[in-house]
């Protein structure tokens, strides 16, 4: 155990949507209340919870995309609110849930945007021309995400899964120490879901990349995350290893529904299954071992 600071140290975090934001049903309400936790350097942390439990808000606060109402966030030991945006962007990359782009940038141009926080501040750097290393890193990231062959295609002319992979490639091109991902596998085919999880693990092993990912996929989180944080209604419900958190009682308390939790045959980690149809009407928990 070394004494290096955790990637994130979050204390008493609170956030509420401002009056000018149109968030149906939750205007002015607290979407996060008194959330405290650490993200260790080099761990993969999964954020789980029902819709509206504050996962995405939390992720955006971690990325300094939004400002917290109360509490503090320390990124590698220094206060996040005091950091300049591009310093944050050199340490943290964010993969949004949805990508909206009205102008037809190519995939290559999109991925190269990830090099922006690292841009040179010279004569040409002011105007933002990328150097050789920027192109190389962008191409590596595109190769990892299997979008290199789409480099010259417009972001409008590719499928939503390909677009998602390009956005992940953009985040990788940022060379961050922490990757924040909002539903990274939502639009992806099975093979690319597996591939992305594999690449995340690889980057985690090789570079010590820490990952915080929001997911609806309990099983993916259970298999690939070191720890899981379960959220309910803006508060932290439970945080710990998949074994501690993915339990029928915790899931019942948060999702208000009974599920089956057994063991994954390969990894031995918890596996969640929806109850079958054979019993009329009722959900029943039948833990198996």
């Amino acid at each position: 155990m070394t004494q290096k600071p955790p990637a994130y140290s979050v204390r008493g975090l609170g956030y509420r949507y401002g009056a000018h934001r149109h968030e149906p049903g939750r205007q002015g309400g607290w979407s996060l209340r008194h959330v405290s936790f650490d993200v260790q350097d080099g761990e993969i942390l999964g954020l789980l919870g029902p819709n509206g439990s504050g996962k995405t808000s939390l992720l955006k606060l971690l990325g300094k995309i939004m400002q917290p109402e109360t509490g503090t966030i320390a990124l590698f030991g220094s206060d996040l609110t005091g950091m300049v945006q591009d310093v944050v962007a050199r340490l943290v990359a964010f993969v949004p849930q949805e990508h909206q782009q009205i102008f037809p940038f190519s995939i290559m141009e999109t991925v190269l945007m990830g090099r922006f926080p690292h841009r040179a501040r010279g004569r040409l750097g002011t105007f933002g021309w990328e150097g050789e290393s920027d192109l190389r890193m962008a191409q590596e990231a595109m190769k990892d995400m299997d979008v290199l062959h789409l480099a010259d295609r417009s972001i409008h002319d590719v499928s939503s899964g390909e677009r998602q992979r390009a956005i992940i490639a953009r985040a990788l091109a940022q060379h961050p120490r922490v990757l924040l991902m909002d539903e990274p596998t939502a639009f992806l085919d099975l093979n690319h879901q597996v591939e992305i999880c594999r690449i995340l693990r690889k980057l985690n092993d090789e570079r010590g990349l820490a990952v915080v990912l929001v997911s609806h996929d309990l099983n993916m989180a259970s298999q690939y995350c070191d720890r899981i944080m379960l959220m309910e209604n803006g508060a932290l419900f439970r945080i710990g290893t998949p074994d501690d958190v993915i339990t029928p009682d915790a899931l019942r308390a948060v999702y208000h529904c009974d599920v089956l939790v057994d063991r994954h045959p390969g990894s031995g980690l918890p596996r969640v299954t929806l109850p079958g149809r054979q019993r009329t009407g009722s959900c029943e928990s039948r833990p198996m071992s």
Partner: protein, 370 residues
């Protein structure tokens, strides 16, 4: 130079993976090619339009006068040759003015389209030009500028008017989170109506001799300015476009939306303020010298984007040059179509740009409804 190696790597990548790097990003080579072509075209358009106007001067006359001028110097030319006076003190300054106004409007259009993430944004359509015009009209009313072409405090009032209307448009835009295009256009329509009413009110209480001048100014008229006035405008244009151009990459990223832009390290609030101020400054400067000239800021960036792509490093300067050329041609038409009388150039651009705008609006209806 760094870009030499960039292109070499690009070529290697090209061979290795089978995609075309020239089509993937704006390389230095492509940037240079496009800009050199556009600069040559601009020179051709500017020189070519010298012969058009109420007084017919053939190209051979133009060349003769120029050669004579080179040989004799300007002092002796003025008395000797009436056409020289027309060329040097009426036509050339007006063409330069038209070029700068067109370049400004196109630049502002590019900036607003990136800021509002909307390819239909335009200073005229959104009511920013009429806000600036209202400011200028107020300045004329209180006598800050005795003549319409005065560069004194007119641009300042126009700048404030423009800033005010950008502020209103932007507030409307952000109050809906991510903005529906029709809301934005509607906001522009309402702003235009209100500002036009106020301008008409000001015109009605003005002394009739001056109100006629103001009406023709409002329709968008390029009058031959003197060279100091041109110089003042050139400073506005130069500073505004250069500052915006240094933010090209940040503008690219801003089109992803504010949240993504922030996560990629862009200081979004600072960039937005910068675009506000530059757009208001350029619109104010342009409106105070040439009145309301519409649609250049929307049509030109749109067309240029189709040919050079959306990267602002190329889109911005290319749009400026094409916008300049467009207005020089439009003004040449305005001078000659009904010669010896003139059509206001704003009428020409509106007649050309309006239908294009409608076409784009109907074509994009489905795609931009969300």
């Amino acid at each position: 130079m760094a870009h030499g190696t960039t292109i070499n790597t690009a070529a290697t990548a090209n061979r290795a993976s089978g995609f075309d790097i020239e089509r993937s990003i704006v390389t230095h080579r492509r940037w240079l090619t496009v800009m050199v072509c556009l600069l040559c075209a601009s020179a051709v358009v500017v020189i070519g339009s010298l012969r058009f106007g109420a007084e017919s001067i053939s190209y051979t006359d133009v060349v003769d006068i120029f050669l004579l001028w080179l040989r004799n110097g300007p002092a002796r030319m003025e008395s000797a040759e009436p056409n020289f006076m027309i060329l040097m003190y009426v036509r050339l300054p007006r063409i330069i003015l038209a070029f700068m106004v067109g370049a400004c409007l196109a630049t502002v259009g590019v900036g607003l389209q990136a800021l509002l993430r909307n390819p239909l944004a335009d200073p005229y359509v959104l009511g920013i030009s009429s806000g600036a015009a209202l400011g200028a009209a107020l300045a004329m009313l209180i006598g800050a500028g005795t003549t319409i072409m005065a560069m004194s405090s007119l641009p300042l009032f126009a700048f404030i008017g423009g800033l005010l209307s950008i502020g209103i448009v932007y507030r409307i835009a952000v109050s809906y989170g991510h903005l529906p295009v029709h809301t934005l256009l509607l906001a522009g329509v309402v702003l235009n109506a209100v500002f036009s009413a106020l301008i008409m009110f000001i015109t009605s209480i003005m002394d009739p001799n001056r109100s006629f001048g103001m009406m023709s100014w409002l329709m968008g008229t390029l009058l031959a300015p003197d060279y100091p006035a041109l110089g003042a405008l050139a400073v506005y244009v130069g500073v505004g476009t250069t500052v915006l151009a240094t933010q090209s990459t940040a503008l690219n990223i801003l089109t992803l939306g504010e949240e993504s832009a922030r996560s990629l390290g862009v200081e979004v609030e600072r960039l937005k303020k910068m675009i506000f101020v530059i757009a208001a400054l350029l619109t104010g400067a342009v409106v105070s010298v040439s009145g309301l000239i519409g649609f250049v800021g929307m049509v030109i960036p749109h067309a240029v984007r189709l040919f050079v792509g959306p990267d602002h490093r190329l889109l911005l300067p290319a749009s400026a040059l094409v916008g300049g050329m467009f207005l020089v041609i439009a003004d040449a038409l305005a001078r000659t179509l009904l010669a010896p009388s003139e059509i206001p150039v704003g009428v020409v651009t509106a007649l050309a740009g309006g239908p294009i705008f409608l076409y784009l609006l109907t074509r994009r209806k489905g795609g931009l409804a969300s």
